[in-house]
């Protein structure tokens, strides 16, 4: 085919094409570890154009470590509050007490991190002037506010030893909001144009749920006498299993947007997270019934959860900064749509 004016594209190439290609090759170096990715990337290189390699979408302006810590603390606090309420109902006073402290402390700290992350912290209350189900942050505000109020108050009452009936009520309220508290943050990340978050919008809530259970169970294990900590151990191990399973699904996904979970700092966080979580879960099963084993495995599980949050956060940031993760999936989507369209026409 001669590429004349009549062909779309008309043969026009960027004048400094050679320099742009060199730029892309340099980027590629990191993924030699996985053969499939390297192969996929080579195909992509030919198809992908951008405006001087500049990102198309804006990367989130959220600060790190504020937001990853918020994700971690919110998750740990949410699952701990559920554990505390159930422990209270099944007459496990120590576990209940520890769970309430973890929930209260985590909730208050997470509010602090969230407010600190705002560009205008003094306007935090503006969050409460509307209720918008299309905004995960708005919905989250109406989860976080009652949760942190109830969990914080319950922990305070627990500490002071006053009003046992109010304590039980506060614990129940915080437990009610504990589950949504742990998973809404996944929607917060997924409901953006950030490719490596948005693409996994049905999987991230389960990563965060698993990670929150591992963190909440792990933290409760550390501070609870081992003979009462059985539920914490079980929840932590189950959470770790869910987290490892769904993270594996995300990392082995066919789409190019799973690549940032393997590369650079995010890749190192995810690798360390998997190691910690797996080791923590294994150690819980083997030695969770000894004091030392409980402390060690609980610490590992919490560290694994924290690292997962940092890894997911960083992977999203990396995918936002590189236009290839925006352009290539959208091009693939358009090509798939064209194929579908063509097949309906021929029929």
């Amino acid at each position: 085919m001669t590429s004349g004016i009549a062909t779309p594209g008309a043969g026009w190439r960027k004048a400094d094409g050679a320099a742009a290609q060199k730029n892309q090759k340099r980027r590629r170096r990191g993924n030699g570890r996985r053969g499939r990715n390297a192969e996929m990337a080579m195909v992509d290189e030919a198809e992908f154009t951008s405006y001087y390699g500049r990102p198309i979408i804006k990367a989130p302006v959220w600060k790190t470590p504020d937001v990853p810590l918020y994700l971690f603390l919110g998750g740990a606090a949410g699952t701990s509050s559920i554990l505390a309420a159930l422990a209270d109902a099944s007459a496990r006073p120590s576990l209940s007490r520890v769970g309430r402290f973890v929930a209260g402390g985590g909730a208050i700290a997470s509010v602090g991190f969230l407010v600190h992350d705002l560009g205008r912290p003094e306007r935090f209350l503006h969050m409460l002037r509307v209720m918008k189900p299309t905004s995960a942050l708005s919905v989250g505000t109406y989860i976080l506010s009652p949760f942190s109020a109830a969990a914080g108050a319950t922990a305070a009452v627990e500490l002071l030893g006053w009003f046992p009936r109010l304590k039980r009520f506060g614990g129940a309220v915080s437990a009610l909001f504990g589950g949504p508290m742990a998973t809404y943050t996944a929607v917060l990340l997924a409901n953006t144009a950030v490719p490596s978050w948005n693409h996994f919008h049905t999987k991230l809530p389960f990563v965060f749920a698993g990670s929150a259970m591992a963190a909440g169970g792990g933290l409760c294990m550390i501070f609870t006498p081992v003979d009462e900590a059985g539920p914490a151990r079980k929840m932590a191990v189950a959470g770790a299993a869910v987290e490892l399973g769904v993270v594996h699904q995300i990392e082995s996904d066919e789409s190019i947007v799973s690549e940032p979970y393997h590369l650079g700092r995010a890749g190192r966080f995810m690798q360390a997270a998997k190691t910690c979580t797996a080791a923590g879960a294994g150690l819980t099963v083997v030695a969770g019934r000894t004091r030392l084993g409980a402390v060690a495995s609980g610490t590992l599980l919490a560290a694994g959860s924290l690292l997962t949050r940092f890894g997911v956060f960083d992977a999203g940031m990396a995918s936002a900064r590189d236009p290839k993760y925006t352009v290539i999936p959208q091009r693939e989507r358009m090509a798939a749509r064209d194929r579908e369209h063509a097949s309906t026409i021929t029929r």
Binding site: W12, K14, Y52, M131, T183, A190, H201, P205, F206
Partner: protein
């Protein structure tokens, strides 16, 4: 504002009125302007006549008193991008218009076998008949707006002697004022709102700088001013619109590359312009953001481009994140239920003491 009912599709997934996704004939009415309201306005940016003068950028900065920034959006810094004549670099909190500049080259197998014997295609080295060439040249000269023909006479785009041709693409980018705006969906304070003109504007006295709109825009338009904390973007000169004036950029544009008006009228004009260009042989011309069936329900500010969108730094197939929001809330609810289920069975499955 019909608060809960208007947004409930986000939770239920039941969206017969296309509140989250899809074509929306009247955005202002959907946003609550139920009584008489002005028609939806917009920009049609015809990049085939853009000369890259950046008058739009200057007019925008002046009218909206935007601070100076460099090509990475850093405030009060003079900096050359070092990549092209484009030293604005991107849209951001301090640049609401951004003229993209792309230099392209192509190998041409001239003379073009457009007019000639049926067998001419097989012999590209054969010169085309003189008469035909003159004919097409005269025709092209007659039409000032024929971009391809212009390139023949422009010293910048004419042939460089060899079989290489160079052209410059220039395009003034701006906030798209989407039918389904990601930033507007994401804003938790109500600072971002839909105006009676169908545009999307930030109320600066409400914005608390949560930054959630920034990654929610599939075009990367809105951004935070770091030292201020709040987010800023094009308002389509809301203040001027309310006084019956055109936005500053459209007023300043010397070639009518930026056209402002009622959106339906602009769309008609754009369709006609596209047809003209295509009849003149500019097959690479295409409209961007014109299709109301696209991922954001069509743009209030749309473009005529001469190459693929990503060449200009635009996403080829943007989709408003909220399209998948019901699925996300469902997954989150399932995850929350799973946590409760695991906790209950962990408690029941553990021996007490």
């Amino acid at each position: 504002m019909t608060s809960i009912s208007s947004a409930s599709p986000a939770l239920t997934g039941n969206d017969p009125k296309n509140r989250l996704f899809g074509p929306l004939p009247d955005v202002s009415a959907e946003a609550g302007y139920v009584e008489e309201h002005p028609k939806r306005v917009g920009f049609f940016t015809d990049t085939s006549v853009c000369i890259g003068c950046k008058a739009c950028e200057v007019a925008c900065k002046e009218w909206n008193t935007l601070p100076m920034d460099d090509s990475h959006g850093t405030r009060d810094v003079i900096g050359l991008s070092g990549m092209s004549y484009d030293n604005t670099g991107q849209l951001g909190a301090n640049s609401w218009r951004h003229v993209a500049f792309i230099e392209q080259t192509r190998v041409v197998d001239l003379p073009m076998p457009a007019v000639g014997l049926p067998g001419a295609l097989n012999r590209p080295e054969m010169p085309a008949p003189d008469s035909g060439d003159l004919d097409s040249t005269a025709k092209a000269q007659a039409s000032v707006l024929n971009a391809e023909a212009l390139s023949e006479f422009d010293p910048q785009t004419a042939q460089t002697g060899a079989d290489k041709q160079i052209r410059w693409l220039m395009s003034s980018d701006v906030c798209k004022h989407c039918t389904h705006a990601g930033c507007l969906d994401a804003c938790p304070t109500g600072a971002l709102f839909r105006t009676e003109f169908g545009t999307v504007v930030v109320q600066q006295d409400i914005c608390n700088g949560c930054g959630y709109c920034v990654p929610s825009c599939p075009y990367g338009v809105i951004d935070q001013r770091k030292d201020d904390g709040r987010v800023f973007k094009c308002t389509m000169c809301y203040d001027r619109l309310t006084d019956g004036l055109m936005p500053a950029c459209a007023t300043a544009c010397p070639t009518q590359s930026i056209q402002f008006g009622d959106l339906d009228e602009l769309q008609e004009r754009a369709d006609a312009r596209l047809a003209t260009l295509q009849s003149q042989g500019v097959e690479t011309a295409r409209l961007y953001g014109r299709d109301e069936n696209d991922g954001v329900g069509g743009n209030g500010a749309f473009f005529l481009l001469l190459d693929e969108p990503e060449v200009y730094g635009l996403p080829p197939d943007p989709i408003v994140p909220a399209r998948d929001l019901p699925a996300m809330w469902k997954a989150a609810a399932t995850g929350a239920a799973m946590i409760v289920g695991v906790a209950v069975s962990a408690v029941l499955g553990s021996r007490r003491r």
